[in-house]
């Protein structure tokens, strides 16, 4: 017997719908790699809008925002703050990236940069770092799905998350990016409605109005409304540095950046940046809910949303409310999870495997996969995977499945492995791509030597500091006395590397610069 029959009905109905929609949408494509990765560059404004929005608003945002209010007070506004500027860089470089991508046939960020800097090393390093960054991010999405499925059905988190992600896998594999796009539309709409309904209704029901609720917070817990917050946890400087890193790294997440390639036109890329703030307003009700929990003494962990709904368990609308909420979290988890899985598969093959195809390791991998029939036999003997479209698509799908499986297994260990630690590393990685993108697109003098040195030095710095923090925290503190984010330190080293070695190295050829509109 399900503890919440209505919610279970809606959740399972939704899973079925997502499955059908994803698979139907996927059948429209031609089935080649270009289709699987970039949806034949055919996303219209409606799909584009929800793809960007729904991808960003993950289960982490949904479960984590009210949780952050309870734990740290107004520090939670930082999501709104960085979101207000975070996508703006795409408004400036997105149109150019989309044009270059369409002309040259690029579908990933690393392909673009590897071509600009004429260096396959860059592609491999970026691709590998990205996949590493995706894993903890994915684990959090699965965790969100697991939490909801547990609340709805009483199943263990591992089982619930497994079922949800089996559906996600099915539509990602069947539909490629097009399936992802259309299911994101459904998920985006659901999230918007559910969160607004609950976020406005609950404070009004309990405290008369939103203003009434804040009156109570001002009277009882004023420290939750300004920095440094309860227990003086967040000094304004630390809050500021968090915002800055997030702004710099936001548009560099490869699954975000890739969306520049999937849009139907350069104008559409810009339009989606313009409308992005409407998704930020969707976080507002979550902040209200956080303050409801502050007043009611709610738990400061990811169960706080469910705790909030239980406040009105005696109301006739409770089952509906609960179902809505479960739906919203699930939609958030799935819409971010599918984009990550999809991007992870594309990146691992196109950016990591293909560039090393002619090296011994790559050759051995491909030969092995073909021998055990994981990859189809090439159309003619000796054909490279790069020229074998069907084989490439299959390889991407294999990686998607493996990534999902690894994440699902990590979920079982989530307590011991400290996902929070891994997230620290994950967030430090995308910001390392910033100097390459900006200098690559706007500085004629930037060359492959500078880019490789900068990127590798930046990634190495981040990794070294991360390991040091784990193994020798005192030494790490001595090196980094201001406790700056490790991503920032990597960024400094990286930028210096790109500039100095570019100036020392050869000028890029005029023909190359012309291809990149420089």
């Amino acid at each position: 017997m399900m503890p919440h029959p209505l919610a279970a009905g809606i959740v399972f109905g939704y899973l079925a719908l997502a499955l059908v929609l994803g698979i139907v949408a996927g059948r429209k494509g031609s089935g080649g790699t270009d289709d699987f990765v970039a949806g034949e560059r055919a996303f219209g404004p409606l799909v584009m809008y929800f793809v960007i929005g729904a991808t960003i608003f993950s289960a982490y945002a949904l479960l984590g925002t009210p949780q952050r209010v309870v734990a740290k007070g107004s520090d939670a506004f930082y999501v709104l703050a960085y979101g207000s500027v975070g996508l703006v860089p795409i408004f400036f470089f997105g149109a150019r990236v989309r044009r270059i991508g369409a002309r040259e046939g690029f579908v990933t960020q690393a392909e673009l940069l590897a071509a600009r800097f004429e260096s396959p090393t860059i592609s491999v390093a970026m691709g590998a770092a990205t996949v590493v960054a995706f894993v903890p991010y994915l684990v959090i999405q699965l965790k969100g799905a697991g939490v909801v499925m547990h609340a709805v059905t009483g199943w263990p988190e591992q089982l619930g998350a497994g079922l949800v992600y089996a559906v996600v896998l099915a539509y990602v594999l069947a539909g490629g990016v097009r399936g992802v796009g259309w299911t994101n539309v459904v998920q985006g709409i659901v999230m918007l409605i559910a969160v607004w309904v609950i976020g406005l209704w609950l404070p009004t029901h309990l405290y008369g109005s939103i203003g009434g609720m804040f009156d109570r917070v001002v009277a009882e817990h004023p420290e939750y409304l300004t920095l440094p917050g309860p227990g003086e946890q967040t000094p304004a400087t630390r809050y500021s540095s968090e915002i800055l890193v997030s702004i710099l790294g936001f548009s560099m997440w490869p699954h975000m950046f890739m969306k520049c390639f999937t849009a139907r036109s350069a104008r559409l890329v810009q339009l989606s940046v313009v409308f992005y703030p409407s998704f930020l307003f969707f976080l507002l009700p979550l902040i209200f809910l956080g303050y409801v929990a502050v007043l009611g003494g709610g738990p400061a962990d990811d169960s706080v949303l469910l705790w909030l709904v239980d406040l009105v368990a005696d109301q006739p609308a409770y089952p509906l409310l609960f179902a809505f909420l479960a739906f919203a979290v699930l939609a958030a988890s799935m819409s971010t999870g599918d984009a990550l899985l999809h991007a992870g598969g594309s990146i691992a093959i196109r950016d990591v495997l293909l560039p090393i195809e002619s090296r011994p390791l790559g050759r051995a991998l491909i030969r092995g996969a073909r021998a055990i029939r994981l990859l189809p036999a090439p159309a003619r003997p000796g054909q490279r995977l790069r020229d074998d479209d069907l084989g490439q698509t299959r390889a991407m799908k294999l990686v998607v499945v493996m990534l999902a499986l690894i994440t699902w297994l990590l979920l079982a260990d989530a307590g011991r492995l400290s996902i929070v630690d891994l997230l620290l590393l994950a967030y430090a990685i995308p910001v390392q791509f910033l100097p390459l993108v900006i200098f690559g697109l706007y500085w004629r003098r930037a060359n492959g030597v500078g880019a490789s040195v900068g990127l590798l030095a930046g990634l190495a710095t981040v990794l070294a500091l991360f390991v040091l923090q784990k193994l020798a925290p005192e030494l790490a503190a001595a090196i980094n006395p201001l406790e700056l984010e490790i991503g920032v330190l990597g960024l400094v080293v990286n930028t210096l590397g790109v500039v100095i070695f570019s100036l020392a190295g050869p000028r890029p050829s005029a023909a190359l610069l012309q291809r990149f509109e420089l």
Binding site: A81, V88, R96, F214, T226, R264, A266, P277
Partner: protein, 127 residues
């Protein structure tokens, strides 16, 4: 520097970059703690610390919308040549495949036509 040849466009790009740098500054130290990080005055019941951030979001939205409408920031589509033809064929091919494509379809060629009609204001004026 930004590869946009048109002078007006270059100036608009610089000005808007300056604007967004300032907008970022209002959200962090030292401006936010000094002017934003207070409970009063409250607007519609919300604390000022939250209202401040919401105002910045609204301003950024307004600025982005104006920039988008004026087409002053690099918005060129793929230049003339082989690509646009291929693109066009793709769109035409796609029309009959489903209802949902028709809606977004209408903006693509429509925009293209509009741009062709007023080359000064759009892509052509920038070459």
């Amino acid at each position: 520097m930004f590869g946009v040849r048109n002078e007006l466009s270059t100036r608009a790009t610089r000005l808007s970059l300056l604007y967004f740098a300032l907008a970022t500054a209002t959200l962090i130290w030292p401006i936010y703690p000094r002017f934003g990080n207070h409970i009063e005055p409250r607007v519609l019941g919300l604390p000022w610390s939250l209202v401040w951030v919401l105002i910045v979001i609204l301003c950024n939205f307004a600025v982005l919308l104006v920039l988008f409408r004026l087409r002053v920031i690099d918005d060129r589509e793929i230049d003339d040549g082989a690509e646009p033809v291929a693109e066009h064929v793709k769109h035409v091919k796609k029309t009959p495949t489903g209802g949902h494509h028709v809606r977004s379809q209408s903006t693509g060629p429509g925009e293209r036509a509009k741009r062709a009609a007023q080359p000064k204001a759009a892509a052509g004026g920038r070459e």
